[in-house]
């Protein structure tokens, strides 16, 4: 089970009225390499992975939900005061027609979220390598978003999230090494 802390992992501030940015940020909400896919992937894989690395998947999967909240907050702040006309101009006309201002799990192109975005192969090596790839893809996505955004406050949050992808990737690489390690191998100090 989880306990909930009613605060964001890192503060989200938005300094410019720019609803179009929300259309791009939604990629990290319901996209293939987004935070939802990451959270569900890790929290699902942890059941059948060796116990030495299950805790890592639990911790990182949980943190991904904290990132999901940050993205949701950014999208919400960027769209909550937009008029239907502004939504249309920002390329969010189709979204408005279907959801009004509600957030929805789809990617930047509007394709709805699907469980086929991730795998659980049951082979610990294959699963951890997928996790490393997922973190690198999410890092790249954050970079593309930062490249398109000129809002310094949004970029501050995005840079925090980009850094977390880097750290998660490193932790998963360590997990791969732990899985490859020889049992009963002599350790020298």
């Amino acid at each position: 089970m989880w306990y909930y802390e009613k605060k964001l992992q890192y503060p989200v501030r938005v300094s410019q009225c720019n609803p179009m940015l929300a259309k791009f940020l939604i990629e990290q909400y319901g996209g293939a390499d987004g935070e939802l896919a990451a959270a569900l992937r890790y929290l699902n894989q942890r059941y059948t992975i060796p116990d030495k690395v299950a805790g890592l998947l639990n911790d990182i999967g949980t943190e991904e939900f904290a990132h999901l909240e940050m993205i949701a907050t950014m999208v919400y702040k960027l769209t909550k005061d937009a008029t239907p006309e502004q939504m249309k101009e920002a390329g969010l006309g189709a979204h408005y027609a279907d959801h009004d201002k509600a957030l929805f799990f789809h990617n930047a192109a509007g394709a709805p979220f699907t469980a086929t975005y991730f795998q659980a192969k049951g082979d610990p090596i294959a699963d951890i390598y997928e996790d490393i790839a997922a973190e690198e893809k999410a890092r790249a996505t954050y970079q593309w978003l930062i490249n398109m955004s000129d809002d310094p406050d949004i970029n501050d949050g995005l840079k925090f999230l980009r850094e977390r992808e880097v750290v998660h990737s490193l932790r998963f690489r360590e997990a791969a090494e732990i899985l490859k390690e020889e049992r009963d191998k002599k350790v020298f100090f």
Binding site: P50, K52, D123, I125, L179, R183
Partner: protein, 74 residues
């Protein structure tokens, strides 16, 4: 020398509905330990290569878990 399979013991609950599998295994094939394939690796003879499923002894991995199949020539 590396091992082709690793073994671990999952948690066994006193309330598990089925008889427990106390030891689980997973495959760690040779390519995980070879960052770049070196030039001029020793090769099997053609017939042996067909039998083994690979040209290079360094990349040979036994089909599933030899302990489960009772193979002797890992």
């Amino acid at each position: 020398m590396f091992t082709q399979f690793k073994y671990w013991e999952p948690y066994i609950s006193p309330f598990d509905p089925c008889p427990p599998m106390r030891i689980k295994s997973y495959s760690t094939p040779p390519q995980l330990y070879i960052p770049f394939q070196p030039k001029g690796l020793p090769q099997f003879k053609p017939m042996e290569a067909l039998y083994r499923g690979t040209l290079w002894p360094a990349l040979f991995s036994p089909y599933p878990d030899p302990k489960k199949r009772g193979d002797q020539d890992e």
